[in-house]
């Protein structure tokens, strides 16, 4: 097996999709500039031509609409939003147009478009270059949302997204770009809607999204040293999300921590926690814990950034609270 970084895996998926399907093109701001795209699209304009790698004017809504229109008539576009914050200007094309099409027109038309958004936080960039807005899009029927956390998934989910007949929002995070992992050279798909169990455990389920899935693994190692065996689930897809895997795990461990790189209020973690309560209330021995951003915009200064972004430490604390709630985990299991 070959090792690639997360960002190299994204680039390879693009290159393979462009090479094998003439209907594929990429359009958005900053395609030709590493300042915007990192190494994720590096050199693809030279390899596949600027007719198919289109660095666009600063027109988020119309560029996204262009991709939606092209998808409607049979192309397979990938729209690129180098900062997820900018994509808010494209809400009409995404929410009103792309997401509604199949339903509204009774299944007569479909929009096989990939909308790629990059979370680009840290580095003192502040509130309008840092937002993780996935929960807003999870809310919308007709839109799929995926957030890979590993190099393997970064490639496999992009390929699956492009082959899906629905609009798929593919969200990558630059904090993950340097993470490395095994990535097969061939074309492969990671099924949308399927979570991955990264570690098995019996005391608490740590459910993670994107960067928080990586933090969960480190937290699990710390917890293991304390005698707490965490089961770690990387959600990978937010819509649809893998209820079966999550519920089965929570029924087994009786405790859940949902770690989400977004805001707390009406966030992804809130939606997942609510469904865990609905489906597995009788199995729970502690309230579902949520590790999220505080309900505040992203600050700029390094000092405040450190206070703002949760990580391994917050997950460990949440898991300890969950395990400590009510009876101790081991005793409770022994009594059962």
């Amino acid at each position: 097996m070959r090792t690639l970084s997360y960002v190299q895996a994204i680039r390879e998926a693009h290159a393979q999709l462009l090479a094998r399907d003439a209907r594929v093109f990429v359009i958005g701001q900053g395609l030709w500039s590493p300042w915007y795209a990192g190494a994720s699209l590096e050199g693809l304009d030279r390899e596949f031509g600027r007719e198919r790698m289109v660095d666009s004017p600063v027109s988020e809504n119309a560029v996204t609409g262009l991709a939606v229109g092209a998808a409607l008539v049979g192309m397979r576009p990938i729209v690129f939003h180098p900062r997820m914050d900018f994509m808010l200007l494209a809400m009409d094309s995404i929410v009103n147009q792309a997401a509604n099409c199949s339903y509204l027109f009774g299944g007569t038309i479909s929009v096989p478009v990939v909308i790629r958004a990059v979370i680009n936080r840290g580095g003192e960039q502040g509130a309008q270059h840092s937002q993780a807005l996935h929960a807003m899009f999870m809310h919308v029927p007709g839109l799929k949302v995926v957030m890979p956390a590993t190099a393997y998934d970064a490639k496999g989910l992009l390929i699956a997204a492009l082959e899906d007949p629905n609009p798929v929002l593919y969200i990558d995070d630059r904090w993950l770009y340097a993470e490395t992992g095994d990535v097969p050279e061939q074309v492969y798909r990671v099924p949308i809607g399927q979570a991955a169990i990264r570690r098995t455990g019996s005391d608490v389920t740590l459910i993670g999204i994107s960067t928080m899935a990586a933090h969960n693994l480190k937290a699990a190692a710390t917890l293991a040293r304390e005698g707490i065996e965490a089961e770690v689930i990387d959600l990978r897809s937010l819509k649809p999300w893998d209820r079966e895997t999550v519920f089965a795990s929570v029924r087994k461990t009786a405790r859940a921590v949902v770690a989400d790189p977004g805001w707390r209020m009406a966030g992804a973690a809130a939606a997942i926690a609510a469904e865990i309560y609905e489906a597995a209330f009788a199995s729970l021995r502690a309230p579902v814990e949520r590790v999220t951003l505080p309900d505040a915009p992203a600050p700029s200064s390094r000092a405040e950034e450190l206070a703002y972004y949760p990580g391994e430490h917050e997950i460990v604390e949440a898991a300890r609270r969950a395990v400590g709630a009510g009876q101790p985990a081991k005793a409770a299991r022994g009594a059962a």
């Binding site: 027109s59 609409g65 009409d92 147009q97 479909s110 629905n166």
Partner: protein, 356 residues
């Protein structure tokens, strides 16, 4: 240039025409658009739109049609004129007032009625109603009531056409209010910078919902909207099917040759209210005077007058054929099934791509 009493030179509240397109008595040209056959065919399309919408209006008044219907009556020459310049594989993109675009491009009459009646046999499976029409087999990939919402989509269809090396043109129909939306200007620029085969058709009926243009803009200059983006614009009498066709044909054939996008401002007027079957429901008395003037510019009567000049007088038999066609289609549409309650989650997700 001829100056007809029906020409755009005398538009109420308007400004003079800026070019030679559009006076009603367009001089004869050897492009077929003045031939009796061509005129009869366009007259037939316009009459079909009008009678179909009158049937819808009656069903709205009877409470049989409940979805909001924005009637196109009075504007038929725009859809009929532009569609005459299109091929079956060209695409048409519309808005909330798109029955006319749908019928002129060849959408099924029965499926339109079934759609507004909410039947599963409707063109959108009874999911969309009047404001959401699709008929991909004739190049209609969705009309929607978000103002200017489909304009970027039309640009995307043109982008696809160019990438495939094809000749298909995309036509974006929108109202005067749409030019107040930012993404319309984004779309003009994208179409220009990529030299895409798009025709932007602004149907300027002077009102955006209830609001007259002069309450929304300082200058009456929508034909210039593309100029800053290097998209040439033409103002044309939108109640003159021949003038609309000639301007559209010129722009569309240029687009097919790779000359890029154009904008057409078609000056016209809707006879009914913004929404519903009524005549003046939402703009009140002030509009009544204007309406009387515009009734004299009836796009159907104007083609009939030309036909009379060419010796074609008796249209009554043809009119009966259209009326019968409408009545039959309404009857068939009514017989369609209403959706089952169990269907409500169907098609949230596409199971396979439907694209051509």
């Amino acid at each position: 240039m001829s100056t007809s009493t029906c020409g755009i030179k005398e538009l109420p509240g308007g400004t003079p025409a800026r070019d030679e397109a559009g006076p009603a008595a367009t001089p004869f040209r050897a492009d077929g658009a003045d031939s009796p056959d061509w005129l009869l065919q366009r007259w037939g399309v316009m009459l079909l739109i009008r009678r179909a919408e009158e049937a819808i209006a009656a069903m709205v008044e009877a409470g049989e049609v409940r979805c909001p219907c924005h009637l196109y009556i009075g504007q038929e020459a725009v859809a009929a004129g532009v569609a005459a310049a299109l091929t079956p594989s060209d695409t048409v993109w519309g808005g909330h007032r798109s029955h006319g675009h749908y019928l002129a491009k060849g959408g099924s009459l029965e499926k339109l009625f079934a759609e507004v009646l909410g039947r599963t046999s409707g063109c959108s499976g009874g999911r969309g109603g009047s404001m959401h029409l699709a008929s991909p087999e004739v190049g209609i990939f969705g009309t929607v009531p978000i103002v200017a919402g489909t304009v970027p989509l039309a640009v995307g269809a043109a982008f696809a056409s160019r990438m495939r090396g094809g000749k298909d043109v995309a036509v974006a129909f929108f109202g005067d209010g749409a030019l107040e939306e930012g993404h319309l200007h984004e779309s003009l620029n994208l179409a220009a910078v990529y030299r895409l085969p798009v025709l932007f058709v602004c149907e300027n009926n002077l009102y955006s919902s209830h609001l007259h243009w002069s309450e929304r803009r300082v200058a009456d200059n929508l034909d210039l909207a593309g100029e800053f983006h290097s998209v040439p614009g033409t103002r044309v009498d939108g109640n003159d099917a021949v003038a609309v066709y000639r301007a559209a044909h010129r722009a569309i054939e240029g687009a097919r040759r790779g000359e890029g996008p154009s904008l057409l401002e078609c000056r016209t007027f809707r006879w009914r209210g913004h929404v519903g079957a009524g005549w003046d429901t939402d703009v009140g008395v002030a509009r009544r005077g204007e309406l009387a003037e515009w009734l004299n510019r009836d796009p159907l009567a104007r083609v009939a007058e030309r036909l009379a000049v060419l010796g074609v007088h008796d249209l009554a038999a043809r009119e009966r054929v259209v009326l019968n066609r409408v009545a039959d289609a309404v009857a068939r549409a009514r017989a369609g099934a209403s959706p089952d309650r169990g269907r409500v989650l169907q098609h949230v997700w596409a199971e396979a791509a439907c694209a051509p």
